[in-house]
């Protein structure tokens, strides 16, 4: 029996409306709707690390912001240890889930020293007694591997890697249970990325943190996460334990992502699985399965019926949202693209 989840997303849906001009209002033109998230559901157990990967515009960051409570979801709920978090969260509830943003250059106040920024969080949330605040700030810096002298400098005096450590320290100041990291290393230099990734891994172990890592880089997710959810156009299309997902991807989009990811070792490219085309406009999503216009396995069935995220027949740990994830298309569904060369590639 699996332990009860610490965090659960239940059918999170988020729709943004495009800005309307005066002319649109006068002529009663309806505003265009962008569906950033469409019924996203998953559970995370305590101490687990879940990776969320997808290309830009797939809704990863919107999901992070809904979970932290920065965006009110259009529908659906964030459930923390069995209780539903309203959008307007109680002060104490806000501490439970914290976030580290992508850009370490813009997410720190340029006019506050690092010490001030950390002490502010500690004082506002009354994490420690007021005479312990300064000492705790230094402890937090030590936790992320920074010297106590850093407390007296301004963000501009720090490198990107150091700033990202400060951001992590600030998120940890309120002693959260769940840490969401939204592309924590994509703005950093290659030689620095490893230090931040290793820090996240060791913090998770030392503090028993639950980590939700959002990234476009598959290699980062493979390095840090126990389980991976792949998103495409606002939906989770596949979710599985990390090694299973990388070794035996079931959704054609996951297969394409893996085939497209550059690797130092894979010299011969798996061209059969790579895909053409661009992601569709989020204002004008295709009918049926969102992926069907780019999908090498799509049939006429995919153009009308949207596949739900379903567990595999003999593998309850993995889910995929594809009609043909577990069995090849039946012959009465005619393929959109001739499918012969793909047959050998499918296991």
């Amino acid at each position: 029996m699996t332990p009860p989840p610490i965090l659960e997303a239940r059918g999170l849906t988020k729709t943004f409306s495009s800005r309307r001009s005066v002319g649109d209002v006068v002529f009663r033109r309806p505003s265009e709707e962008l569906q950033a998230l469409e019924g996203v559901s998953f559970q995370v157990v305590r101490g687990e690390s879940l990776g969320i990967v997808g290309e830009s515009g797939c809704g990863k960051s919107t999901l992070a912001r809904c979970l932290v409570g920065l965006y009110p979801p259009t529908s659906g709920q964030t459930v923390y240890e069995g209780t539903v978090f309203e959008h307007k969260r109680a002060f104490s509830d806000r501490k439970k889930i914290q976030i580290v943003f992508q850009d370490p250059y813009s997410s720190l106040n340029a006019r506050m020293t690092i010490g001030q920024a950390l002490r502010e969080v500690l004082a506002v949330h009354k994490v420690v007694a007021s005479d312990r605040v300064a000492a705790r700030a230094v402890e937090l810096l030590a936790l992320v591997g920074l010297d106590s002298e850093i407390a007296n400098v301004y963000p501009r005096q720090l490198s990107g890697g150091q700033r990202q450590r400060v951001n992590i320290a600030r998120a940890l100041a309120v002693e959260p249970e769940v840490l969401i990291a939204d592309e924590p290393v994509s703005a950093l230099d290659v030689s620095i990325q490893a230090t931040v990734l290793n820090l996240l891994a060791s913090l998770r172990e030392r503090l028993g943190l639950t980590l939700i890592l959002i990234a476009h880089d598959l290699s980062v997710v493979r390095y840090l996460c126990d389980r991976v959810a792949v998103m495409y156009m606002g939906r989770i299309v596949e979710m599985a334990p990390t090694e299973t997902l990388f070794e035996d991807p079931r959704h054609p989009y996951t297969q394409a992502l893996l085939a497209a990811a550059p690797s130092l070792e894979r010299k011969s490219r798996d061209d059969a699985r790579s895909i053409g085309g661009d992601p569709p406009s989020p204002f004008d999503l295709p009918e049926g399965c969102h992926f069907h216009p780019r999908c090498p396995m799509a049939t006429d069935h995919c153009t009308t019926a949207r596949p739900p995220l379903q567990e595999g027949p003999d593998d309850p740990g993995r889910q995929a949202a594809c009609h043909y994830a577990w069995e090849p298309p039946p012959s009465h569904h005619s393929p959109l693209i001739p499918r012969e060369p793909r047959e050998e590639n499918r296991r």
Binding site: S56, S191, L197, F246, A260, P262, E265
Partner: protein
């Protein structure tokens, strides 16, 4: 063996700034032959972009440069300021969305060079642009000719930029992180396009990026740049398979790879040096675990180890036994 289309010899670029003189490029030499793709990997601030601007003949006005660059055996003027871009060299920038003129139809942007540089007539230039759009894989070019940049996705904008880069019939295309702003699946398409273009047109490509895996997939040879100089050069197999410089070795161990699970990452300690206050000796010494006293003095330039590889490390013998940990594990 054909004569290289691009020859760079002991290139030095210094930029004056309020903080002092920035030694952006310090003695870089390399050749690229027609039809070849040479990769340059380096972190931000390693001088990659300044090197490209020097080759393009577009150094900023605060730059002073030494050494020589020749394109098809013709010397490139190295004066900073409002120089004229060099014939036969074109560039593809990182941000496809901002590199295009937003108020000019993309077809006209592609046909500009054929019309005004190659002297084609309006109709011929249009046909040339359509041909280029087909070459870079833009479907339905006749319709897309009249599109504005905002109507195109990132991948298509990058294809348009590549078409523009090809439009003046260059000998060399410089690529400055051309796929960093793109999604993985689109990046894959663009990388394939570069490979096809160099095969079909015989153009030489200099591909600058921070992503080792992208270089491994696109280029035949690679140079590793750090603090304005090349620390290691050679074929992809040699440099990434048997690195002979501690920095290359460190980079390979610090980058996660999709083909690997949890091989522990080993970070390179410290951060890149400030190019204003560089002391003598090996620039990587403060972060190097192989460093010795003799590394603190002298000039460290590339020396050839064999036909496929050269390194700037004087202690490269100490590294020869230690292939990167994950390579050893994989075999």
């Amino acid at each position: 063996m054909t004569a290289p289309v691009l020859q760079v010899r002991d290139l030095q670029v210094r930029l004056s700034s309020p903080r002092g003189v920035v030694h952006a490029v310090r003695g870089v030499s390399f050749d690229v032959e027609a039809g070849h793709t040479h990769g340059i990997v380096g972190e931000s601030g390693s001088g990659k972009t300044t090197l490209l601007r020097a080759i393009l003949g577009l150094l900023p006005s605060n730059a002073t440069a030494g050494g020589t660059i020749s394109v098809s055996s013709r010397q490139v003027p190295l004066a900073g300021g409002r120089a004229k871009a060099v014939d036969g060299v074109s560039i593809v920038f990182q941000e496809p969305m901002t590199a295009l003129n937003p108020v000019v139809r993309v077809g006209l942007q592609i046909s500009e060079a054929p019309r005004f540089k190659l002297g084609l007539g309006r109709r011929d230039a249009r046909n040339r642009a359509l041909e280029l759009m087909r070459l870079v894989g833009i479907p339905d070019p006749v319709r897309r000719f009249d599109a504005y940049p905002h109507e195109l996705s990132g991948g298509f904008s990058q294809r348009v930029l590549i078409a523009i880069a090809l439009s003046a019939e260059p000998k060399i295309i410089l690529c400055d992180e051309p796929t960093t702003a793109l999604d993985v699946t689109v990046q894959d398409q663009i990388l394939k396009l570069f490979r096809r273009i160099s095969e079909e047109t015989g153009v030489a490509i200099v591909y600058v990026t921070h992503d080792l895996a992208v270089v491994a997939q696109t280029c035949r040879t690679v140079s590793v740049m750090y603090a304005g100089q090349f620390l290691e050069s050679g074929t992809i197999d040699a440099v990434f398979g048997r690195p002979r410089h501690p920095y290359t070795l460190g980079l390979l161990a610090a980058v996660p790879d999709v083909s690997h699970g949890r091989t522990p990452l080993v970070a390179i300690p410290g951060s890149p040096p400030d190019l204003v206050s560089l002391a003598g000796g090996c620039p990587f010494l403060p972060r190097c675990s192989y460093g010795r006293e003799e590394c603190a003095d002298g000039v460290f330039s590339l020396r050839s180890l064999n036909r496929h590889q050269s390194t700037a490390c004087i202690r490269s013998d100490a590294l020869s036994g230690s292939a990167p940990a994950r390579e050893a594990e994989a075999s």
